[in-house]
Symmetry: C6
Subunit: 237 residues, 6 copies
């Protein structure tokens, strides 16, 4: 089944695989039909780019709340694509860089992403990449512009690139005119229902701060438990 | 017919042609009377500049929604003009430059554009050139001022220049007093009706994410399909 | 008549005449009593400075909509003054300069303008000089202050200077306390009526985008034509 | 009992212990059930990180009013953890540093915190670390972003790290999206009731500006005394 | 009489006299009782500083509309003081300086002003000194702070200094807490009534743009004339 | 009596005494019970720090209107403390310094203030230290943060330090969270009543701009006189 296919880690030929593996330590759990649809959608976009006669550049935005699995999904599906070049572009690698150095770093990532015939670039956590802070708001418009220009430029002849972006702030992406820079967008929701929660538990997740004796309360949907679970959801996986 | 004339790529004598070709990979599709009028208008302005006794500098703004074909039209018509010098001024070539370097780059483009007797410069995506970000809003007023000064300065004796600007944010152009800097302005609309859509399909376009079986739904104007088409319109061409 | 006097280009003794000539390519057309009054007013101020026993510095602001002829008038009247030193201070010469360099440039213009016994300086398009952008608004307060200080400082003994400033944003000049820096101010209006328009046509102007067959429509005041004329007015001259 | 356990200073094996000791000069007084619960909660999170099979990074925010004991608690509990590496990251050590140097300093603290198998880092007074000033508001978004990126990055294989953050401005943490960066959060309240106050006094605290004769008034809850106590609370300990 | 005493230019012993003379080319005209009172008030403050046993630093703000004579009065009264050191601190001398250089320049002016036993410093046009622009508003807070610190610092032993400041923006001075920095303040009004105007005319002033035949209209208070006079008032003197 | 004790200048052992003496030229006049209470309060805080077993760092804010004597009181009481190290930290010594240099300067002052067993530091006019300007408002958040961090850090072992801060803007201190940085706060009011005024006069003060004959009017509370007195109050002392 699809889930099994995802759970076993497939070999890929590109560089930078380790960064991607780091973001999906335990593999993806296919805990609900919704998550299944998300996976199918991203796979379709990847396949279209691979075979298209009409375009050689494509982009897709994964958005949804913090901790919902956007980065994990993007990285797992990148690994599963078997594209010769896959890479994760992440704010973690740019801490302390000047704006100029960041633009250079991003530009190099795209340049590298045009070196193989088939390339996939995960542009992770766009808010973090542009140093977004809600108060103000503040962000690096220089880095933003570099990203936008790259996302709206065609691939060179003979190269194909798909960019998977992630963001937990959809309305920000809209306000920044970033949505116009992506060809497709997919929402990744949080685990919200008790059923989904139990599906995760069944598949081997556990909850910090929730004793085994609480399992019944979870299934009964005890409000206090659910609230604690929500707060701790980030630490499920 | 006019369409055929446009579709076959005409030779031009200037440098920088490749940049322009990159923006109109598949040629322009004349899918509606509206697009025909736009083309006619731009051609008239180009002809006026070529033959005018009264002025040697002219400028024209193409505005309209993102993906409506402004850049493609500007570049195709530039190529069709057969002017000895044609050039595309684009934000893509200025990523990571300092403000000062950008001003220099723009100034050089105009300087180059005065080297032949007949010159055409596409100033593409003015928002991108001035690093415009809607939140704030932010933009480089230094670059903006350089553009404005150039757009309101006469050509040197014996030189003729027409500038075709593009922008997907007309109200911004207005707020920035940019409209005063152009002698003419033309709106380029998106494909909006089903008829226009079918005209595109007929002429060889196809839709990503829309199976062939959906063709009937498109023609029936199915709302969900139309919405998906709009989102994907950028990838038609 | 006055018009003839203006139309023939008079010799002047100062440097920088070419810059000024560039701004009045075809000479000034005296198309209405209003424009005649403006010319008379500026000439009076120039004469007062020339002969005054009470002051040796004077300044005058020409304001009015974009394209109404402020720069052309200032330059033509400067040329007609036969002052030994006349100069145009324009944003065009300062593109890409740092703020400091701009202040230096402006200061040098004033310094030069005190080298002859009788001097005239056109400070053109003050908005452009101070890098004004309506959004924000933004402008260089350093350059503004340099201008203001120069406009409120006396001429050295034995020197006379009249400054003619131009601006298409009167309310901005007011908000910036710039009006206090000028001794006189004159409004230059656009061609607004059909009669004025015909006067211009009669005197040799022509309209881009308006075929000869439209002449009757212009005289009938056809609304659409008038609107197109307004948009194109900048290109009449 | 628990209190005794805390009051005696336990030996720890890490470096930087002195900084931590400096913040809990007289040991923690367990003056109420509320403070007991806080201690238990932090200890549970520390234990979970120590033994967890599912995660190797965890973070906890202590928030509450100024002077309520957040720093003291964090440091005492760090000392009590007996983790081989414990460290205090404090604004005091960054006075006068440039933003870049601060980011470097923070990054080094995290890097150091990954050198032992079991590590604990106190990120004290986040407002101070990001140079927050309520007027404006102002803060270093560069430093903030460095902190956020570190707080949302996994520990390297074979290393475990728990971060205890402190902040006296919970709503700021929320506005900055900082709460999403912590796995757990605990409120540390001030001494508010007379009973709690007396518990502190009983355990050896004394009040500056309150004579011994006022002791009865304290117990009677005299309003003026309570107000003076509140102002002086910071100096109890 | 007092007027005569002022009109004849008195010798003074300090340096920088020429700068001061430049600002009162034709001497002060004592055209009304109001202007007489202003002069008396400033003279009193100067005398108090000269003889005081209780203080050796004093400051006085002259405020009022642009062109009302603040600078002229300050400079004439400085010249009349016969203080061994008198100096004009003016924005004109600081055009194009960096903020740091401006602070240095101001600081040097004060330092120089402490070199003689009796010193007088005219701090002219405080708005201009701090590069104030009403839009924003903008100003150099660094220069402002340098001025404020100097205005609130005592003179060294054995030195006496009186500072005469001028400003045409009283409410700004208030908003900036500048009023707290002056020991005294005096308003200098514009010529407002026809009588005052005639007094000026009688004493030898003339009006640009007003022919001799208009004299009757002035005396009749013709509204249009008065308005023109107001606009031109700056050029009376 | 207390007054006498204050009026005679007592020897002190620290460095920097001269700066402090400069701020209390004529000694403190104990003109009312209110001023007496202020003095007593500050003295109590100084004594507590000297003898405390529980803390070795203490801070106190003197706030109140400009000219009310905060600086004078702080300096006189510092001199009276006979602490081996007393110092005045003042904006006057930092004019023209860069932000970095200011932070260094402040930090050095605190470092020096930890060199003796018993130390007293007057942090004068906090608004001036942080370059506060009400319009904006503007201030140096870097300097502010340096001050705050120092005010919330403990003294090293074996050292005692009391900081006396002054500010004439209490609400600003509150908005900046500065009040949390002080252990105690005392209001210093202006001379407001006629009785207080007469007490000052009796003790040897005199009023600039008020003739001896006005003494009766002062005592009668004549409104105009009182207003003039208020304006001139700064110059009483
Ligand atoms: N479907 C899933 N199956 C297994 N693990 C998952 C799944 N979704 C999320 N996770 C795990 O949950 C944790 C949080 O997910 P992830 O970091 O991908 O979220 P995110 O949406 O990128 O959050 P953020 O917006 O904060 O970056 C990770 O450890 C990830 O591996
Ligand atoms: N009339 C047309 N015929 C053929 N292709 C077209 C036409 N209009 C647009 N396209 C194609 O559609 C794509 C988007 O067009 P283009 O980039 O010119 O749009 P745009 O209006 O410049 O958008 P933006 O505002 O985002 O820059 C391009 O690949 C372009 O070649
Ligand atoms: N009265 C006139 N006679 C002849 N030509 C004129 C007249 N007025 C304007 N022009 C011409 O019209 C064009 C625009 O005029 P000009 O540049 O002087 O306008 P402007 O008021 O300075 O505009 P802007 O505010 O945009 O600088 C110029 O080519 C100028 O020579
Ligand atoms: N429960 C406690 N037992 C003993 N001392 C305490 C306790 N709580 C606080 N203190 C002492 O009170 C003083 C203030 O506490 P601390 O600095 O930890 O507060 P804080 O919450 O970190 O304040 P801030 O938000 O200002 O940093 C310190 O000297 C600390 O040792
Ligand atoms: N009472 C007066 N007698 C003679 N000349 C005067 C008198 N008042 C002003 N003037 C003259 O009027 C002109 C403008 O005065 P001045 O520059 O002193 O005004 P100001 O109040 O300083 O204006 P601003 O606020 O613009 O600096 C000067 O030439 C000055 O010499
Ligand atoms: N009680 C007093 N006895 C004697 N002199 C005093 C007294 N209070 C103030 N002064 C004197 O009044 C003048 C102003 O006082 P000071 O500078 O201390 O006021 P401040 O409150 O610090 O004002 P600011 O807020 O402007 O700094 C000084 O010369 C000072 O010596
Ligand atoms: Mg993520
Ligand atoms: Mg485009
Ligand atoms: Mg012009
Ligand atoms: Mg703390
Ligand atoms: Mg003046
Ligand atoms: Mg003070």
């Amino acid at each position: 089944c699809f889930l099994n296919a995802l759970d076993e880690v497939k070999p890929a030929f590109g560089v930078h695989e380790e960064d991607l593996h780091d973001c999906v330590k335990g593999g993806i759990i296919n805990y609900s039909p919704k998550i299944h649809q998300v996976i199918k959608r991203v796979e379709r976009d990847i396949e279209q780019l691979r075979h298209s006669e009409n375009f050689n550049f494509s982009s897709l935005l994964l958005y949804g709340p913090s901790g919902s699995g956007k980065t994990a999904l993007a990285c797992q599906l990148a690994l599963d694509s078997k594209f010769p070049f896959i890479r994760l572009l992440s704010a973690k690698d740019m801490v302390g860089m000047s704006e100029t150095a960041k633009v250079q770093h991003i530009d190099n990532a795209f340049r590298d992403a045009y070196k193989s015939p088939l390339n996939l670039l995960v542009v992770d956590d766009i808010e973090a990449l542009i140093d977004y802070v809600p108060i103000g708001p503040r962000f690096s418009s220089v880095v933003l512009r570099a990203l936008m220009t790259r996302l709206t430029s065609n691939a060179p002849d003979g190269r194909r690139l798909i960019v998977i972006g992630t963001s937990s702030n959809y309305s920000l992406m809209k306000s920044l005119d970033m949505l116009n820079c992506f060809n497709d967008e997919v929402c990744v929701n949080n685990v919200t229902s008790i059923d989904e929660l139990c599906a995760v538990v069944d598949k081997g997740g556990f909850f910090r701060g929730i004793e085994k004796d609480n399992e019944d309360e979870i299934r009964r949907g005890d409000e206090d438990i659910v609230k604690r679970i929500h707060t701790n959801l980030l630490s499920i996986f």
